[in-house]
C-alpha cells in the first residue's frame, strides 16, 4: 500500500514521517524540480506500507513547484490513502488544505497533531466532531511524543481498503450548480477524480484550463449565471473565500476549547517574539546570535579568555596557544591530528618512491582528509543552524533581513544560505533549496563563491604572513580585506545579475511565522545526521576524485611517464599547460608574469578544483625553489617558503612593490572564481539546468578575471604614481556607485 503524507509547513510532517518510517527513509528528488522527495516504509507495517512525504504546502494552487508536485503525485500516482497532518494549535488555516484534499476520490485520514502542545496551552479539540463534519477518520496524535501513531496507521490501513468518493465543502455554495454540471462532463469522459478537476476548472486554474480547453469554455458560460459580489468575476477568490467561510462557521463545534492564541491572548511564543524581533533590539540580538555561532565554530580565542584567564605560555596544538580554542576548532584539530597520523602510518607502510604510494598518500588521502578535516566544523555549524531552524527563529531571521536583501532581488530567506557560505559553499548551495522562487535561488547560487569559505582562509593567512614579514602589512587587515572584497563584489554583482542574466521581479514575501518551539534533541540529531550525510557524500566523493585528478595531472607527463618523484610538477601535464598555455591567459593579471609565474598558474588551476590544495601546491614549489635563507628565517611553512616564490616573481617585475598588487590579484582570482568541484556539483543539482550552470561558471570566472585585472593594474599605478592610482580608483568607484544608484532608482520607481 502507498500512503501520501500531506500537510502545511511546520505542521510536524517531518517529525511524523521520521517516527513512522524510522531508518527506512530514503531521500530522492521529485522529477524535474529540486525538491526533496522522502519516502520510507512504515516500521510496523512489515514492509507493506510505503509512506511518501509530500512537500509542505498550504494549498493545491498551480503557482508553486511544491504544490504542483504534490498535486501531480496525488492525481497520477493514485495513493491508497492520504494522511493529512493538521496542526491542532492552528486549526483554521490547516483545514483549508484539508478541504481541497477531500475533493479527491482518495481515502483521507486526518492526523490532528501537536495535541500535547494544545493541551498545555489549555485548548481542546473534538476529533469525533471533525470526523462527522468531513466524513473521514480523524485521530489525535502527537508526532513528537509518539502518541496515537498506532491508531492513526490502523485507521489509515482500514480506510485504504475502502473506496471513497470526493466531497466538497462547496456543495452548498453559490458555485455548487456549476461544479456539478462540469463534474458530469468529466464523469462522461471517464476521467478519475472528476470533482477535484471540476472545482479546479471553475477556479480558473491554469493547469486545468490548459488541459481541458473545451470544458473550460463550457464552464465560462455556466459561470456567467453566478453572482460574484466583491469578487467581481474572480472565481479563484470566491472559492478560496467559500472554503475559509465553511471552516470558520464550523470551527466552534470542533474546537471545544480554542487555543488561547485563537482568541487573541499573548502566548509564550508571542512574548519571545516581542524580544527577538524588537524594533531596536531585534537586529543587535540577531547579530549577537550569528556572531556566537561563528565564534563557537571557528574562533581561536574562545569566550575571549586568552590574556586574562589563560596564560600566554599556554600552548597546545589542539587546545590553542595563549588562548582557548572554540569547540569547533578543538574538534577540527583533533580530526586533523588523527587523519595526519593515519596518513603517515599508511604511507610508511607502502614502498617509497613508487607512483602508487604517491597516488594514495598525496592524491587520495590528501583529498579525503581535506574534506574530513572540515567535517567537525561543518557539524558544529549545522548543529546551530538546525537548532535555529527547529526553534522557529530562522523565519524571524528572514523577517528581519528581508528589507536589506530585497534591493538585490533576494528575500530575507536568502540570508542563511549565503551566510553559510562563509563556512563552506556546498551546504550553502544546498540550503538555497529553502528559497521558493527559482530566480531567487539562481541569484543566490551565483553569489556563493564571493563569501570567502573556510578552505580559502589558509590561502589568505599564508599570503598575509608573507606580506607582514616583507612589507610590514598588517596580517589581519590583509585577511579582512579579502572578506570585504567578496562582500562588495557580491553586492555589486547582485545588482548586475538582476539587470542582466537573471531578470525577474523580486519574489513575494508572504510567509508564516511559526510559533517558537523548544527544539527536541532527537529531532535535531536526525536533522543533523541527514545534512551531514548529504554533505560528506557529496563533498567527499567529488573532492577525493578531484584531488586524484590533480595528482595525476601534476605527476605524469604527456607521454604518461611518472615525473612526480621529486614532487616538482614542472614537466607534468599540468605544469606544461600552465607554462605554455594558461600562463598567457593569466598574464594580464600580473601574477603569471616573471620566470616563476607559471607556478601561480598551476596553483590557480588546482584551486578551481579544490581550494584546499592551493597552499599545498605553493608549498611544493617553495620547497624546491625557495631561498635557503628565507626558509630558516621563520617557522611558518606558508610564510617563509612562499616568500621565496613571491620574491622570484617580484624580481622579474622590478621589485616586490609590483609583486604585491600581483599577489592581491592572485588572491582575488582565487576568492571569486569557481569555488571548487564539490560546489559546482552542488550547484548543478540545485540549479537543475545545464545552461544556467554554464552561465554560473562563466560568471564566476569572468568576474574573477575582471576584478583581478583591475586590482593588478590599479595597484601597479599606485606604485608608479600615487595620484594616478587614486584618480583611477575614484573613477571606478564612481562608475560602480553610479550604476548601482541608477538601478536603485529604477527599482524604486517600479515600487
Amino acid at each position: 500500500m502507498k500512503f501520501a503524507l500531506a500537510g502545511n509547513p511546520n505542521s510536524g510532517k517531518t517529525t511524523l514521517f521520521n517516527s513512522l518510517t524510522g531508518s527506512t527513509a530514503h531521500v530522492g528528488n521529485w522529477p524535474g524540480v529540486t525538491i526533496d522527495k522522502r519516502s520510507g516504509f512504515y516500521k510496523k507495517g512489515g514492509g507493506n506500507v510505503e509512506i511518501i512525504d509530500l512537500p509542505g504546502i498550504y494549498s493545491l494552487s498551480p503557482y508553486t513547484p511544491e504544490e504542483v508536485v504534490s498535486r501531480n503525485f496525488l492525481l497520477d500516482e493514485k495513493p491508497d490513502c492520504i494522511i493529512n497532518i493538521v496542526d491542532s494549535t492552528n486549526l483554521e488555516r490547516n483545514l483549508y488544505l484539508t478541504t481541497q484534499l477531500l475533493e479527491l476520490d482518495v481515502p483521507v485520514v486526518i492526523a490532528l497533531n501537536m495535541t500535547d502542545a494544545l493541551k498545555k496551552e489549555g485548548g481542546e479539540i473534538d476529533a469525533a466532531e471533525l470526523e462527522r463534519l468531513f466524513g473521514v477518520p480523524s485521530v489525535k496524535i502527537s508526532a513528537l511524543v509518539g502518541d496515537g501513531l498506532d491508531l492513526l496507521m490502523q485507521r489509515a490501513v482500514n480506510a485504504a481498503k475502502q473506496k471513497r468518493a470526493g466531497r466538497s465543502v462547496l456543495d452548498s455554495g453559490k458555485c455548487a450548480g456549476v461544479i456539478n454540471a462540469i463534474k458530469e462532463l468529466y464523469i462522461k469522459d471517464n476521467i478519475s477524480n472528476p470533482l477535484f478537476h471540476a472545482v479546479k476548472l471553475v477556479e480558473n486554474d491554469g493547469i486545468e484550463t490548459a488541459a481541458n480547453a473545451a470544458f473550460a469554455a463550457k464552464a465560462e458560460e455556466l459561470k456567467k449565471g453566478v453572482e460574484t459580489g466583491v469578487f467581481e468575476g474572480d472565481f479563484e477568490g470566491l472559492i478560496a473565500d467559500a472554503r475559509y467561510r465553511y471552516i470558520s462557521e464550523n470551527l466552534a463545534a470542533v474546537q471545544k476549547k480554542p487555543a488561547p492564541r485563537a482568541v487573541g491572548f499573548l502566548t509564550k511564543s508571542d512574548k519571545i517574539d516581542r524580544v527577538l524581533t524588537h524594533k531596536v533590539w531585534g537586529i543587535p540580538i540577531f547579530l549577537l546570535i550569528m556572531l556566537g555561532v561563528f565564534h563557537i565554530t571557528f574562533g581561536e580565542n574562545f569566550l575571549f579568555l586568552g590574556g586574562w584567564l589563560i596564560p600566554e605560555s599556554f600552548d597546545s596544538a589542539i587546545f590553542g596557544s595563549g588562548a582557548l580554542n572554540s569547540p569547533g576548532v578543538i574538534i577540527f584539530n583533533l580530526m586533523d591530528a588523527a587523519t595526519s597520523r593515519l596518513g603517515e602510518v599508511v604511507s610508511s607502510a607502502l614502498p617509497e618512491g613508487m607512483w602508487y604510494t604517491s597516488m594514495i598518500s598525496d592524491g587520495l588521502f590528501g583529498g579525503v582528509f581535506a574534506v574530513l578535516s572540515f567535517v567537525p566544523q561543518i557539524l558544529v555549524l549545522f548543529l546551530f543552524l538546525s537548532i535555529l531552524e527547529d526553534s522557529g527563529y530562522m523565519a524571524r531571521v528572514a523577517f528581519i533581513m528581508d528589507r536589506a536583501f530585497r534591493r538585490f532581488g533576494l528575500s530575507g530567506k536568502a540570508f542563511m544560505p549565503l551566510v553559510m557560505c562563509f563556512g563552506c559553499a556546498v551546504p550553502g548551495i544546498m540550503a538555497t533549496r529553502t528559497l521558493e522562487n527559482k530566480e531567487e535561488r539562481q541569484r543566490a547560487i551565483f553569489l556563493t563563491p564571493f563569501f570567502s569559505c573556510g578552505a580559502k582562509l589558509p590561502i589568505w593567512a599564508a599570503f598575509a604572513g608573507v606580506f607582514a614579514m616583507y612589507r610590514g602589512l598588517n596580517a589581519e587587515l590583509t585577511v579582512f580585506s579579502m572578506y570585504i572584497l567578496g562582500i562588495v563584489v557580491a553586492i555589486v554583482s547582485a545588482f548586475l545579475l538582476k539587470a542582466t542574466i537573471i531578470k525577474g521581479e523580486t519574489p513575494p514575501f508572504i510567509m508564516e511565522l511559526p510559533s517558537y518551539r523548544a527544539p527536541k534533541p532527537k529531532n535535531t540529531i536526525i536533522h543533523l545526521w541527514q545534512k551531514l550525510k548529504h554533505y560528506v557524500i557529496r563533498a567527499g566523493t567529488i573532492i577525493a576524485a578531484a584531488t586524484v585528478v590533480i595528482w595525476f595531472l601534476s605527476s605524469f607527463s604527456f607521454s604518461f611517464e611518472w615525473v612526480g618523484a621529486d614532487g616538482n610538477p614542472e614537466g607534468s601535464i599540468l605544469g606544461l599547460i600552465s607554462k605554455y598555455v594558461f600562463r598567457w591567459v593569466f598574464y594580464p593579471l600580473g601574477f603569471a608574469m616573471g620566470e616563476n609565474g607559471w607556478m601561480f598558474v598551476v596553483a590557480t588551476l588546482t584551486g578551481l578544483i579544490a581550494k584546499e590544495v592551493v597552499v599545498a601546491t605553493m608549498g611544493v614549489f617553495a620547497g624546491m625553489d625557495g631561498d635557503e635563507a628565507l626558509e630558516t628565517e621563520g617557522s611558518e611553512l606558508g610564510g617563509t617558503a612562499l616568500g621565496g616564490v613571491i620574491i622570484s616573481v617580484g624580481g622579474m617585475l622590478g621589485g616586490l612593490n609590483v609583486a604585491i598588487p600581483a599577489m592581491f590579484a592572485f588572491m582575488a582570482f582565487n576568492l571569486l572564481s569557481v569555488p571548487c568541484m564539490a560546489a559546482v556539483a552542488a550547484a548543478r543539482s540545485e540549479l537543475n539546468d545545464k545552461k544556467m550552470l554554464f552561465k554560473a561558471i562563466a560568471f564566476w570566472i569572468i568576474t574573477a578575471y575582471a576584478v583581478s585585472l583591475v586590482i593588478f593594474w590599479v595597484g601597479t599605478l599606485y606604485t608608479l604614481a600615487f595620484w594616478a592610482g587614486f584618480a583611477v580608483t575614484a573613477a571606478i568607484v564612481a562608475a560602480i556607485a553610479g550604476a548601482v544608484w541608477h538601478r536603485l532608482k529604477k527599482t524604486e520607481r517600479k515600487g
Binding site: 466583491v230 477568490g237 537586529i283 528581519i400 528589507r403 530585497r406 508572504i510 510567509m511
Partner: protein, 77 residues
C-alpha cells in the same frame, strides 16, 4: 472607516473588505487566509521598517508593505 493594511499601527484590528492584488500574490493571500471577512490584528513592523507581521485566523503571517497595500480593511478597533 476603511484603511489599507500597510497603514495599520500595531495592535489595530480590522476586517478584510477587499484584496486588490493580482495573480500569484492574490492567490497566495487567499490561500493564507486573507479573504474578505477575515479579522486581522496588526502586530508589528520589522526593525528595518518592512515587512510587517499580522495575526489572523490564529497564526502569525508576515508580508511586505507593498503586498499589504493591496488589502483593504474596515477598522474595528
Amino acid at each position: 472607516m476603511q484603511k489599507k493594511l500597510n497603514d495599520f499601527i500595531p495592535d489595530e484590528k480590522g476586517t478584510v473588505k477587499n484584496v486588490n492584488a493580482e495573480g500569484k500574490i492574490r492567490r497566495r493571500l487567499f490561500d493564507m487566509g486573507v479573504t474578505p471577512g477575515a479579522e486581522i490584528t496588526m502586530r508589528k513592523t520589522a526593525p528595518l521598517g518592512d515587512p510587517i507581521e499580522i495575526t489572523l485566523r490564529g497564526y502569525e503571517l508576515s508580508l511586505r508593505k507593498s503586498e499589504a497595500e493591496t488589502v483593504v480593511l474596515e477598522v474595528t478597533k
